[in-house]
């Protein structure tokens, strides 16, 4: 069996970011279902009918995210697992996670901008919206950084390690020459 190649400090940091990122996605949804920490103030003001309508739209929109965030969290954790193991699948799962994260972040940003949640007078006085803006910025920045790093990573052109070497199921010889 080939020994596992040395894990660089940058890859170790990247694996930690991926692992912590996947845990933070989980933490966000636990907080969403258990506390009011992540909710904007508008959600608590259901007495005004126009605000109540916006709050219903907001909650309906947010409730659609867990299944999509499941993909981000699981692929991020898988990318961390494979990156520590110096395995080429780290690039696959890392790019899937980063692409999905960026996509979801832009949908969220788009919704918040279109509905005025990110208007300065709302943003400055609402802790829930400030947290959401911070998460959006972190997601876009993290996704771009992760894609940039993985695309230039040596593992992108690497084969899967030992057990993939040999005859493939279709009979092609995949052994190194």
């Amino acid at each position: 069996m080939n020994p596992t190649p040395h894990l660089s400090a940058a890859d170790r940091a990247h694996a930690i970011v991926l692992a912590v990122g996947s845990m933070l996605v989980c933490a966000y949804w636990v907080a969403f279902f258990r506390t009011d920490l992540t909710l904007p103030k508008v959600v608590h003001n259901m007495t005004n009918p126009s605000v109540a309508h916006l709050a219903t739209v907001y909650l309906g929109f947010e409730s659609a995210f867990p299944l999509a965030d499941l993909l981000v969290a699981v692929t991020s954790a898988l990318a961390a697992l494979y990156l520590v193991g110096r395995d080429a699948k780290a690039v696959l799962f890392g790019l899937v996670a980063s692409g999905a994260l960026g996509f979801l972040a832009f949908i969220d940003i788009s919704f918040n901008l279109l509905h005025g949640f990110y208007a300065p007078h709302n943003l400055l006085k609402d802790g829930g919206l400030q947290l959401e803006a911070l998460i959006n910025i972190a997601c876009v920045t993290g996704a771009i950084w992760s894609i940039w790093r993985l695309w230039s990573h040596p593992l992108r052109r690497a084969e899967d390690r030992p057990s993939m070497v040999g005859k493939s199921e279709l009979g092609f010889d995949t052994a190194p020459r």
Binding site: C26, W29, V30, F33, P66, L70, A73, A77, A80, G85
Partner: protein, 138 residues
């Protein structure tokens, strides 16, 4: 006699853990370095973390329809990271030569089983709610 959901979640998680580990032993999928790790795995990972931590804390108050992605997400992320810690540092259990769902490499097995951990809190909460329902009828 009726039981509370936290207790039901822990009992259900214990049952899920015992069934999983018995199945793994019957099909020779993985083996523990010592029996102590098996006991710790069932009590800590299944009962405390997936049963009480994920099952009860997240799945204790909402309808399954809304909460199931979060239950699976948290269970799978915890599971993948746990399998990763074992794969790279802990080595408390190791894989047999037998493929799991056609997967043969050690790290791929850790990934597959890690994702499958997501099913543990789902099964736990569903089983716990069945137990609550049965105990209320009794």
């Amino acid at each position: 006699m009726s039981i509370g959901l936290p207790v039901a979640c822990m009992i259900a998680a214990l049952a899920v853990g015992l069934v999983t580990e018995t199945g793994a032993r019957l099909f020779n999928l993985w083996r523990y370095r010592s029996p102590g790790y098996l006991v710790i795995n069932i009590l800590v990972m299944f009962v405390l973390i997936q049963g009480y931590g994920v099952g009860w804390v997240i799945g204790g108050r909402h309808a399954m329809r809304g909460i199931f992605p979060v239950l699976f997400m948290v269970g799978a992320v915890v599971g993948i990271l746990f399998e990763g810690v074992n794969e790279h540092w802990l080595h408390a259990w190791s894989w047999s030569d037998r493929p799991i769902l056609g997967v043969t490499r050690s790290i791929d097995k850790a990934a597959v089983v890690g994702v499958a951990w997501g099913l543990a809190p789902l099964a736990t909460v569903m089983l716990a709610r069945l137990m609550i329902g049965a105990s209320l009828k009794a």
